[in-house]
């Protein structure tokens, strides 16, 4: 087990290295002279000499591989440079907004579980009955809808018609909850279908009939014997859903005017704030890769059938 984990951890290094090179390469591709932007931070209107001075000072006249090593060395210490916009450090900028996005993502994961899992179970238990039909229609509609449109509709219904939330910003407590529900659009359908197909497969197995014949209550049959065996395939998919909920919050954040990292990333694209953008992309990449590793390891703990290489 320990060997497996070390091996996987070592395999992470080249992946993160390649991603950091790509992220660094983006600066080279981007239009505009970074030396001029840096010079403008010290001087209001830099002369050519001052631009050259900044170029030399920040090491932008060195060959590209040296620049990369410099940049990567600093990035390892959490120094991604300063935001062109606020002149705070890029990491700090993201650090301020991250809790808001995490809170939003956690809320939406909770709502997803509270609504999605019971519906999936009901749908499987009442297979092909009218309740199952209704839930299936709901999940079909759900995967066909753009979440940002549902967000707009909520803004219209709750902001304009019912006046529960302000349409300008997240001043009230209801707005983040609505945003979290809007973010879940598309995921409800996926999780309901996943649980339904897997649970139905399990419920048709022989040991379920045995458990029923033993006289166990139907609740304990479904949850203890059924769900326990159906949950594994759902788990892998669920982890990737959590990741995309955390990373894909930008659209909903912009609709409900929530000042999270997604919104920050969108703004930095518009004003070409590269240090913040680089920091954001690299952090997300590391997070995704580490999260995947974690899930794989967890998975091999839960399911002993997985061969450990």
């Amino acid at each position: 087990m320990l060997r497996y984990i070390t091996k996987r951890l070592l395999a992470l290094i080249p992946i993160i290295l390649i991603m950091s090179m790509i992220v660094f390469g983006l600066t080279e591709l981007a239009s505009g002279d970074p030396a001029r932007i840096l010079a403008e931070m010290t001087y209001e209107h830099p002369t050519n000499e001052q631009v050259e001075w900044a170029r030399h000072e920040y090491g932008l006249d060195q060959p590209i591989y040296k620049q990369y090593i410099n940049w990567a060395g600093k990035a390892l210490h959490g120094d991604f440079g300063f935001s062109y916009n606020t002149r705070r450090s890029a990491l700090e900028e993201i650090g301020i907004k991250l809790p808001i996005t995490i809170k939003l993502a956690v809320t939406s994961v909770i709502i997803l579980l509270v609504i999605g899992v019971p519906l999936g179970i009901l749908s499987a238990v009442f297979e092909n009955k009218w309740l199952d039909r209704i839930i299936q229609i709901f999940s079909f509609f759900d995967v066909s809808m753009p979440s940002f449109w549902i967000g707009l509709m909520m803004l219209y219904v709750f902001g304009v018609k019912l006046k529960v939330i302000s349409i300008l910003g997240s001043a009230t407590a209801a707005a983040p909850v609505l945003a979290a529900i809007a973010m879940d659009i598309g995921y409800f359908g996926i999780i309901i279908r996943l649980i339904r197909t897997n649970l139905i497969e399990v419920l048709h197995k022989g040991y379920i009939r045995t458990a029923k014949a033993k006289g166990l209550s139907s609740f304990s049959v479904i949850v203890k014997h059924g769900l326990k065996n159906a949950i594994l395939p759902v788990l892998t998919r669920f982890s990737s859903m959590c990741v995309s909920l955390l990373c894909g919050s930008a659209v909903i954040e912009s609709i409900f005017a929530i000042q999270g990292v997604g919104n920050l990333a969108l703004v930095s694209v518009q004003i070409k704030d590269l240090p913040v953008l680089q920091c954001y992309i690299l952090l997300i990449t590391v997070f995704v890769v580490v999260m995947n590793l974690f899930v794989d390891i967890l998975y091999s703990f839960i399911d002993a059938r997985i061969q450990i290489m």
Binding site: A30, P146, F148, G186, V288
Partner: protein, 286 residues
């Protein structure tokens, strides 16, 4: 000899028959709606009653009338014409993304599954990495450096979506290559390239078509989403996501601007999902 092999091949595999797939009513409805929108997209210049880009501020926010079937938007542009032209952009972009991802993903998956061993392992690792990457981050990176545009969005989304085709075609290739007709082909002296791209590809094609139909709805949603937040197609192009993003400021005064494009997107995506589900179920039932 060739004739015999073909007979074997027909036994082991499935062939693509539209008539069988379209037996189901739901699938037929989906197919019908898709056809309608394809016609709208192709003949947009003839169908649209007005110029979708013609700004006429005096006639802004007009209610639906005989000239403007869905009314006009905040700049006095005909909403109906913009929707019709929007179907052209949405379908065209998603079709391009689909073709690119299939052209990249399927050959990689075929070769990887056919060769096997260490190379296969290595390619699988790369596929896993791309599958794990949220498409939003990649689109953000590309839009942030190359500038947001429709072309760069196609590029960014192709970078993400090829991986699922590679994974599917790899898994199918591994299944198909064990079947007896492949052995017969090998014994008959057929070259690897010919087996791979002539015979195996033919046998896994219908699964790939089904996956493509399933995914196209999601691609349309993503294109609209990216355009909505300004990372994709740029205004004033009549694209559904842009229309929705423009409508946000008129949510109090004119909710129609937000309702109509949204409903159209839902109808199109639903039609593609119905069709995709039908194709998938049809494949499993046989």
């Amino acid at each position: 000899m060739n004739h015999k092999v073909r007979k074997l091949e027909k036994k082991g595999v499935m062939h693509f028959r539209w008539a069988e797939y379209l037996g189901d009513t739901k699938t037929r409805i989906g197919f019908g709606i898709v056809v309608i929108f394809v016609i709208l997209a192709i003949f947009a210049p003839m169908i649209a009653p007005n110029d979708p880009l013609y700004v006429d501020v005096i006639n802004k926010l007009q209610p639906p009338s005989r000239q403007f079937w869905f009314g006009t938007d905040n700049m006095g542009r005909c909403l109906f014409s913009r929707i019709v032209w929007g179907s052209r952009y949405s379908l065209l972009y998603s079709f391009i993304i689909m073709v690119i991802t299939i052209l990249i993903g399927v050959p990689i998956g075929l070769v990887s599954g056919y060769i096997g061993g260490k190379i296969d392992n290595f390619i699988m690792r790369i596929i896993d990495l791309f599958m794990a990457m949220p498409s939003f981050v990649l689109a953000l990176a590309i839009a942030g450096t190359l500038g947001p545009s429709g072309k760069n969005l196609v590029f960014a989304m192709s970078c993400v979506y090829w991986a699922s085709y590679a994974r599917l075609s790899r898994a199918l290739t591994i299944q198909v290559k064990e079947q007896s007709f492949i052995l017969a082909l090998k014994a008959g002296g057929c070259s690897h390239t010919k087996i791979l791209f002539g015979h195996i590809l033919k046998n896994i094609m219908d699964s790939i078509v089904a996956l493509a139909t399933m995914e196209i709805g999601g691609i349309i949603l993503s294109i609209a989403g990216f355009s909505f937040i300004g990372l994709g197609v740029q205004p004033p192009t009549p694209e559904w996501g842009i229309m929705l993003s423009d409508s946000k400021n008129y949510i109090q005064t004119c909710p129609r601007l937000m309702l109509i494009p949204g409903i159209v997107v839902v109808i199109v995506v639903m039609a593609f999902n119905l069709l995709g589900d039908g194709l998938k179920n049809g494949r499993y039932e046989r």
